[in-house]
């Protein structure tokens, strides 16, 4: 199945598109920039949602739902925010169609007094709501998350990575103190990092964004940053400390224990279906998608190998015990007995779709009480005893999960290096990867570096050592290295 597909070497970008298409994850729709997420791709998103939702609940958050539409005037209330989002908004101006001689047209009599923006993010509508919810310190904190669709009118789109509409979660919390809000933003960064590393098997750098890359309206943006196989960076999640910006814009105050009116402190944090793009690009190979077992919709597929119906019946009966034993361990299993396709076709299909473990069972296996176990990450095969196979598979899935993480981490280490001069930087940035370099802290310097090399500061690492140095671009003093890279 994979034979006609592009390799990473040949054309990395096409390789990615091929996987999204042929592994049946998503496709472009007839609506410019909007994607259709197909069942197999959506099943990955559902697995992500399930885990993240539980992590949010375990840290005290509740889900709620706020309107899709935001009155235009709300955007104007926070200056940086409107600046950041105004250029990419879908605007609703009318609320009715009608028949005319030219067919169905927008009814000019049904024009809205105030235009509505399809939410690109929900800070404004949510803080307009929190105003009604908060009177005293007793009403705080508010720890709320929503799972929703958002729209940002992108001119150049790529499936999962950048689409006009995408799915995400957005947490919006309100706190009595600055300290508590910062702690919340940091806590959610840790939740995201745990999810990326423990579930997606994607190693991430934790850090903050430079002012140029900060969320529109935030005082500080915490982020997790991952490296893709082409050496480019992908921002996988962000958690913003918003200070009192939105509280001031929407006049949200609380009566403190000391009986004083104070503005409320805020955070917001989100991850999106973009994570599926990160998952694909972190692990997949020239044979197709590779999925970490913990998020794979199908963890184990069993393919019967047979010529006659009696053989299929015998195999079907034989594997029932294994299927049951695997499911009892919470492992998702598919037994593919379709008679419309040959085993070889099925092998190629599941390999391409990244199913972590494939079991092949044929007449000879029945005789010998064996099964052929193939693992997707290493593409190796081994014949094992069918008896007690569930224990070996359970261990194997854990091993694959770990192996993917180590492999991705090794790749990142191999492609991360320190650079100390502009000449070196200009050469190294062309090779891809993360460059740890000194920067003088000025937005102008970052912009100039971006203009010349297309590289930006992906993150200022939280665990970076203090180190005296000179900015690679200006030579001005710097106390810490930051991470430069080209990015998605």
């Amino acid at each position: 199945m994979a034979k006609n597909f592009t390799t990473r070497e040949e054309n990395y970008s096409q390789w990615y598109n091929d996987i999204v298409k042929h592994a049946q994850l998503a496709e472009n729709s007839s609506v410019r920039g909007s994607m259709v997420i197909k069942p197999y791709g959506y099943a990955i998103w559902e697995n992500m949602q399930k885990v993240l939702d539980q992590m949010f609940k375990d840290t005290g958050h509740e889900n709620a739902y706020f309107p899709l539409f935001i009155p235009k005037s709300f955007f104007s209330k926070e200056a940086a925010h409107v600046e950041g989002f105004a250029k990419e908004c879908a605007v609703v101006t009318h609320y009715r169609l009608k028949n005319s001689e030219e067919g169905i047209v927008v009814d000019p009599d049904a024009k809205l007094d105030e235009e509505l923006i399809v939410r690109p993010t929900s800070e404004t509508i949510i803080w307009d709501t929190y105003k009604k919810w908060v009177q005293s310190y007793r009403d705080l904190p508010i720890l709320v998350n929503q799972w929703a669709n958002v729209v940002r009118w992108e001119m150049r789109t790529r499936l999962f990575l950048r689409t006009s509409e995408f799915l995400w979660q957005e947490g919006h919390t309100a706190h009595a103190t600055e300290k508590e809000a910062i702690a919340e933003a940091q806590q959610m960064l840790e939740v995201y990092a745990d999810f990326a590393e423990q579930w997606m098997a994607v190693p991430v750098l934790k850090g903050t964004k430079s002012p140029n890359e900060r969320f529109a309206g935030a005082l500080d943006t915490y982020c997790i940053e991952a490296m893709m196989q082409d050496g480019k960076a992908l921002q996988a999640g962000t958690s913003h400390f918003l200070g009192q910006n939105f509280a001031k814009a929407f006049d949200v105050k609380y009566l403190s224990k000391e009986n004083k009116q104070e503005y409320v402190w805020a955070t917001s944090w989100g991850v999106s279906t973009r994570l599926i793009g990160a998952l694909i690009m972190a692990h997949s190979d020239d044979h197709g998608l590779v999925l970490p077992p913990k998020l794979a919709p199908i963890q184990v597929v069993i393919v019967p190998i047979y010529r006659k119906q009696e053989q299929l019946d015998e195999i079907t009966e034989k594997v029932q015990g294994t299927i049951k034993a695997l499911r009892a361990k919470g492992i998702s299993v598919k037994f593919d007995a379709r008679d419309t396709h040959k085993p070889g076709f099925k092998f190629a299909e599941y390999e391409y779709k990244g199913v972590p473990v494939r079991l092949g069972v044929g007449p000879r296996d029945l005789e010998n009480g064996t099964v052929e176990v193939a693992r997707r990450d290493t593409l190796t095969k081994e014949v094992m005893d069918m008896e007690g196979i569930e224990l070996k598979i359970e261990a194997l899935l854990a091993e694959i999960q770990e192996n993917l993480f180590i492999k991705a981490k090794d790749f990142r280490e191999e492609n991360s290096r320190k650079v100390d001069s502009w000449d070196e930087f200009s050469v190294e940035i062309e090779k891809g990867g993360f460059l740890y370099a000194h920067w003088d802290g000025s937005p102008e310097t970052e912009q100039k570096i971006k203009d010349e090399t297309k590289a930006t500061i992906r993150t200022i690492p939280l665990d970076g050592d203090e180190e005296e140095g000179k900015c690679i671009f200006t030579g001005n003093p710097s106390s810490k290295r930051v991470v430069f890279a080209r990015s998605y």
Copy 2:
């Protein structure tokens, strides 16, 4: 807490609004017709989603996601469909804002060539997609569902019952034969009826809609219809047999086993956040919300009764075993040790929020090894031994669930009656409830009855007996009684 709230007798409509507001289920937003679903209301929706989603998967369906925006021209392709939805569409006409002297305005240079409709339902965009997915009979059936938000521009809105934006699921299936599609539509009706009766404890009539009440584009609409406490009907779920209408509109054909090109057969089916409105109006009383245990976010609340911190500590320690034992049974428990509110306030709060079982534990209970058990449905209290209380509570929750269903069913039976003449009908319809009457099968007759009485045919019952009779309005012959009522 409930003392200042309106009773059903005084003002049924206000009673409903009070419950939605004061039980903190939802509120109106600053966006006309759009609601904010608050955490407690959203938790009910999450419970509904979890159960329904599993039911859909158990019947072979997968989830996917399709675009929010639909090109205007798609609507024109199915004549009845555009007729049904054109009058209530949110229309996106521009994709950018800009700064001007008057502030932030819509950028006239960013006008879309073709307007986009915010989906009121997704048949058109989905069938445009299915065209790419279907070539041969091997590609069928497609059994897909999506959880999504939709927008219908309603002029008069009520929280949960009718809002411009609401949350729902919409199943869209494609089949090789008419028989299979009808079987699917009927199967999903059964799923909805099971959910309503077994989980919501709301008895429903299963039937089909008359042509006037059919979905725009359907050949047949199956529905479940429930009775609210004011005697009005509420449509709680619909499942449509769409015939080949959308396949023809979007040219979706498949190559049959007999090597012939055939149009594909379709169904669609959905339930929405409206179910929360049904839940409220089916069970609640003048003391507030009453929730069926199987969908209650909090099934058991434990309220400590104490004066001194030592007493609270002692109670807290004592109830740990009970909390653990209840949770081991999958029962959700909240222990409310807030020191900001008195026990009396908490009792009233949980009563108003419809928590099925409340446990009160005070110093005397500690001495005696007892606990006060209050059930929300009957408002009765009983002192029981704390030892082994989890078994009694488990049984009690099942009893409350059943009791709510029986009560609602009895109410429906008491308010359902046969009527055989127009005079009788005109009098009885004013009293509310379901009227079983003969109808001559003509849409014009139904329309005239509606114009005179505001009553419509809610359903043509699937299990109704064949019975010769005369139409109450025209006297023309009829072979079966249908159900008339006023409705939400």
